[in-house]
């Protein structure tokens, strides 16, 4: 959590994650170039490396984009999300090396600055088939750079979670640009149906998973209206699993209503770190624990335990006839609430 900043907050699980990632990438590139030379002895190393780096980055981006919806469909995928930033930075580095190789190979040692040549080398903006594909890749790389450069928690804290999140949603624009970069670039030369088929399959997978995950959550954002006394009836107390939450949309915001034993509390469902889904977390050692990165908050006050300083808005909760009623007006982040207590069953 965010008491201070370190370049990388290493821990055993992150190390394992990164080791597997590094070995996987080496294996992929080694296979691509090695088998490439075995099957195409007249190929040049530059071209094989260029393609190996480009395809590995593109495949990694597919994995990154699929982790989010997969984790929403099955929480067992959440550990993959925990260190997704390292996947993102690795993908950016692969794309960067691919881009530098391409810039040198196609634009350097000529009569124009390579960076200028990148944008003026092909001016067929009037034709889809001949549309310049390299500037599309450059635009995507600029977005990926922005994301990689701001991936650290320092930027998350200083930009605020909503701004940071919005910035990082640009990954979808980068993906769209890269699909066009590939479709209008290498697919114009590599005419095997396998290449085009894989790009389409990847697109279908990413879109499909997002649609299914969105479909599954379609009811979640249905706004609950206040009833008598201006309170919102969320559910019966026994509908909330022990140590878990029921999420409801109240006043346009997702609210996580937690139950621990006989007490019920409510906080904003947006974790202050990356806006993770607190409502999908659970209470561990008396603290609400975010499922994404383990950030913790006191259920009554919405405050992280000292020395940490994160705070989330809290909501007043009332129990009436076994129903959980929530005041729709959020209290300022970190405001202590008196938990609602159910009566001990006789």
């Amino acid at each position: 959590m965010s008491q201070g900043y370190r370049a990388v907050g290493w821990n055993p699980q992150k190390k394992t994650y990164d080791r597997v990632l590094g070995l996987g990438l080496l294996l992929y590139l080694g296979l691509f170039v090695g088998v490439g030379f075995a099957l195409h002895p007249t190929a040049t190393a530059e071209t094989l490396l260029l393609r190996g780096l480009g395809t590995s980055a593109f495949l990694l981006l597919h994995g990154i984009l699929c982790i989010g919806p997969l984790a929403r469909l099955d929480r067992r995928f959440l550990p993959l999300l925990y260190n997704r930033r390292h996947l993102g930075v690795s993908m950016f580095l692969l794309a960067l090396v691919h881009s530098v190789f391409a810039l040198i190979q196609f634009h350097a040692l000529g009569d124009q600055n390579p960076l200028v040549s990148l944008f003026v080398g092909n001016t067929r903006f009037d034709s889809l088939a001949h549309f310049p594909f390299q500037p599309l890749g450059a635009a995507a790389l600029a977005i990926l750079f922005l994301m990689a450069a701001t991936s650290h928690d320092f930027w998350l804290a200083n930009l605020s979670a909503p701004v940071w999140k919005a910035l990082h949603m640009l990954v979808y624009l980068a993906y769209a640009l890269l699909v066009m970069h590939v479709g209008l670039g290498i697919l114009q030369a590599e005419t095997s149906p396998l290449w085009a088929g894989l790009v389409l399959a990847g697109l279908a997978l990413v879109l499909g998973l997002h649609l299914v995950a969105g479909w599954r959550e379609r009811g979640l954002d249905r706004e609950l209206a206040p009833g008598d006394a201006g309170l919102v009836d969320v559910c019966a107390i026994d509908e909330i699993p022990e140590g878990r939450a029921r999420v409801a949309t109240i006043s346009g915001e997702r609210v996580a209503v937690f139950r621990e034993g006989l007490t019920v509390t409510a906080v904003s469902s947006l974790c202050q770190h990356q806006n993770g889904p607190l409502g999908e977390g659970r209470i561990l050692d008396g603290l609400i624990t975010c499922p994404w990165h383990g950030y913790q908050y006191d259920p009554c006050s919405g405050r992280s335990p000292a020395p940490f300083t994160e705070r989330v808005p809290t909501f007043r909760v009332v129990l009436r006839s076994g129903r959980v009623l929530v005041d729709p007006t959020p209290s300022p982040a970190g405001t202590e609430q008196v938990p609602a207590c159910a009566e001990q069953p006789q």
Binding site: L31, P79, G110, H130, Q188, A189
Partner: protein, 251 residues
């Protein structure tokens, strides 16, 4: 297993979740490797062209200037048409500026061979031209034969001769367009690459109707299917198309 709750900063995860992650990671890696194999196996476009990178050879012959600089080398038998090597410079530049001052002279030079099919090019090593005999004493040019092939309408793709003959693989089609533009813009002679139904390639060096360079005029048409009509001439083993580049048609 459904209730496994993962906390990344704890030393370990539960065995059930750990096994699931192991299976998932391996499946993703295996899928990526299978994709890599499929992509590599289905790749095309790697010709048998050769760029003898790092190997420098010496050549002796007569320099021909103009938009397509060449070195004409007498055959050992001293009979027949001399062998011709199109000359280019390092990087994405033509050899015109280095060759022009010595056009017509007998020279010795060094460079790196680039070849594909029956076409050979030499990347001239900078500053390596050594004049052996001035223009008036050279005899090779007088043995050059010119053969008029008549007016032809050709359909093909404009490529830069240096990359297509071996420096890049593939050295044509859209992914290579920006590079071809840079090379042709830098003076590398443009070639209209024409393939017959059997896939056999013919190379036509593009020059203007009066034999001048057309590099800047063809840049917008590089790496696209085009049609052009012009007067075809075969000289020193190379074929030239004398044409008006303004008449280039996109197909």
């Amino acid at each position: 297993m459904k209730d496994d709750f993962y906390i990344g900063y704890l030393p370990t995860t539960t065995p059930g979740l750990g096994a699931f992650l192991k299976r998932t990671g391996l499946a993703y890696l295996a899928a990526c490797l299978v994709v890599a194999l499929g992509l590599v196996a289905s790749m095309g476009g790697f010709s048998s062209a050769v760029f003898e990178y790092g190997v420098e050879r010496d050549f002796e012959g007569t320099l021909v200037g103009g938009p397509v600089p060449m070195l004409l080398v007498d055959r050992p038998s001293s009979e027949g048409e001399p062998s011709s090597y199109v000359l280019t410079a390092f990087g994405k530049f033509g050899a015109g500026p280095e060759v022009e001052p010595h056009a017509g002279a007998r020279v010795r030079l060094s460079g790196t061979l680039i070849y594909r099919d029956d076409r050979t090019m030499v990347e001239l090593s900078a500053g390596s031209i050594e004049v052996l005999a001035p223009v008036a004493l050279s005899r090779t040019v007088s043995t050059e034969r010119t053969e008029e092939l008549g007016e032809l309408t050709l359909e093909g793709e404009i490529v830069d001769s240096k990359c297509y003959l071996g420096v890049m693989k593939p050295g044509n089609l859209k992914p290579h367009r920006a590079c071809a533009v840079r090379c042709i813009s830098g003076g590398v002679p443009p070639v209209l690459l024409v393939r017959d139904d059997a896939g056999h390639a013919s190379y036509f060096f593009l020059v203007s109707e009066d034999g001048g360079a057309v590099n800047s005029e063809v840049l917008d048409h590089v790496a696209e299917p085009v049609r052009l009509t012009g007067r075809a001439v075969r000289r020193s083993g190379q074929t030239f198309l004398y044409a008006n580049p303004a008449e280039l048609q996109r197909l």
